[in-house]
């Protein structure tokens, strides 16, 4: 199977992007340097092509009830113009995927899923799709780019009183560079910013206009490498690394997305039991010494022996030390506890720290529940 190319492929190559295959898509790992792109997002803003993410349009009178029955968060509380982070679980409570549901109108939703799970998700959703609700995969028709950073808002070329009033996890229909766009204040970096849904044949102009107008202020195009470090610093989970179908939302530290009182949904009975389990596995944050770089799969040990595995690890340029998420067995650890992580066959010390590792500008505009 050849990898898909996004409509911005030629631009990535022209910008010096080093193209790699990711979940069936050819995307830039980096343009100039992961370090520079990462720091640009933390200090100014960066622009990402995330058109690989799956976009599913769910429409119909029964759309709310349908989604309510397949995701963990409370769709009834989601107003038009707002977005909500959600998990989709199996009957046994294992996580099928994490996704963001955008509600455009009472019976019109856009569901953004992980590229790696798109086909699996579509199959699962189709299986449960009732009559009267339609689901269309818009991934190839509509592109998605993310403009993220503490200055993303002020440097947004389409800034207006309309965009100023978009709350965190809110969105509006507008125009960027003369092109119609669905402007959402969402992201995966921990920073303030926008995710822009633009028709595939129009997204190039929007991309160019954001880069052109932000260039002098330090805006850079940013690749997958920077995106992974940014999300990890913000402790945003990566499906396939930090959770999968064998992990439940409470173990992943995402119990806040599970609304057991909203009514029946797939996995509810199992999750109700999981919630009561005190001695459960947990995803914890680890801070390590410069040079001791934890990697996915690295064994985590404590005095009592092997306790778990690193699910994501990297060197944080911004913080200046390596960080990791690790899934560990009970009894649970406290912030300040010391464990060790296998780094190239050596036991390197790691301190349990609070999550997120870094709180960016995103939360400044965050409501309590989203």
């Amino acid at each position: 199977m050849t990898a898909n190319r996004t409509p911005l492929y030629d631009r990535h190559v022209a910008l010096g992007g080093r193209m790699v295959e990711f979940s069936g898509w050819e995307l830039p790992q980096q343009y100039s340097s992961i370090r520079d792109e990462h720091l640009a997002v933390r200090r100014a803003a960066g622009l990402f092509d995330i058109s690989h993410m799956g976009r599913l349009n769910v429409v119909g009178d029964g759309a709310e009830a349908f989604l309510q029955g397949v995701v963990t968060n409370d769709i009834a509380k989601l107003e038009p113009g707002r977005a909500q982070y959600n998990l989709m679980c199996k009957e046994d409570g294992g996580v099928i995927d994490d996704l963001v549901v955008y509600r455009s109108a009472p019976s019109d939703f856009l569901v953004v899923v992980n590229a790696s799970n798109r086909e699996k998700d579509v199959e699962w959703l189709r299986k449960h799709l009732p009559d009267g609700v339609s689901m269309t995969d818009k991934t190839l028709e509509v592109s998605l780019i993310a403009f993220q950073g503490p200055m993303a808002h002020s440097l947004f070329p389409a800034r207006s009183t309309q965009t100023d009033s978009i709350p965190y996890f809110g969105f509006t229909q507008g125009q960027v560079a003369g092109e119609p766009a669905f402007i959402a204040r969402t992201g995966y970096t921990g920073e303030d910013g926008f995710e822009l849904f633009v028709e595939a044949d129009r997204v190039g102009r929007v991309w160019d206009s954001i880069l052109e107008s932000g260039k002098a202020k330090g805006v850079l195009p940013a690749g997958l490498g920077a995106r992974d470090i940014l999300r990890l610093e913000a402790a945003l989970r990566l499906y396939g690394n930090d959770m999968d179908e064998t992990v439940n939302p409470y173990e992943a530290g995402l119990g806040w997305t599970v609304k057991l009182t909203k009514g029946e949904f797939i996995g509810r009975a199992a999750l109700e039991k999981s919630r009561e389990v005190v001695d459960r596995r947990r995803l914890i944050g680890l801070k390590m010494k410069p040079g001791d770089i934890p990697r996915h799969g690295g064994a985590v040990s404590a005095e009592r022996g092997k306790v778990g595995t690193v699910t994501s690890g990297t060197h944080s340029f911004f913080l200046g030390y390596p960080i990791a998420l690790a899934l560990v067995e009970p009894p649970s650890f406290r912030v300040g506890d010391m464990v060790s992580v296998d780094v190239r066959g050596r036991e390197a010390p790691a301190e349990v720290v609070e999550l997120p590792f870094y709180r960016g500008s995103a939360r400044a505009t965050a409501p309590k529940h989203y």
Binding site: Q30, R35, G225, R295, H315
Partner: protein, 125 residues
């Protein structure tokens, strides 16, 4: 300036009398991505040709470094401790990794620039 020669494992070497300077190639740094840390031995240690003498960590992965020639470590590039990115920005200059006092002659089977480039391009995808 001494001619730069290469190993199959993407180290480079220049020789000045009995002293060899070692680093990693432009191709290697570009494949590794941003270097974040180098785990290097102390001066005085003897290493055999082909021996792993250290580890280079990039954002993506950790990779072993192999000695292109046998010798005693005469110096390591201390600048890399605080500026490991020099390996990316100037792999043949300020990003040199260590200097070896060679035990014997430089091996004759190291590649010249043209041969190495051909090999590197063949392994790239």
């Amino acid at each position: 300036m001494a001619e730069r020669r290469y190993t199959k494992t993407h180290e480079w070497l220049t020789v000045d009398g009995k002293t060899a300077t070692v680093g990693i190639s432009e191709f290697a740094q570009s494949q590794l991505g941003d270097v974040v840390f180098l785990d290097l031995p102390s001066p005085g240690r003897k290493i055999a040709r082909g021996e792993s003498f250290g580890v280079i960590e990039s954002v993506k992965a950790a990779s072993d470094l192999y000695a292109p020639v046998a010798g005693t470590i005469a110096a390591v590039n201390d600048k890399l401790t605080s500026n490991p990115e020099l390996v990316n920005s100037d792999p043949y200059g300020e990003g040199w990794i260590l200097k070896l006092q060679m035990t014997g002659e430089a091996p004759a089977d190291l590649m010249d620039e043209a041969t190495y480039k051909k090999m590197a391009e063949g392994t790239s995808h």
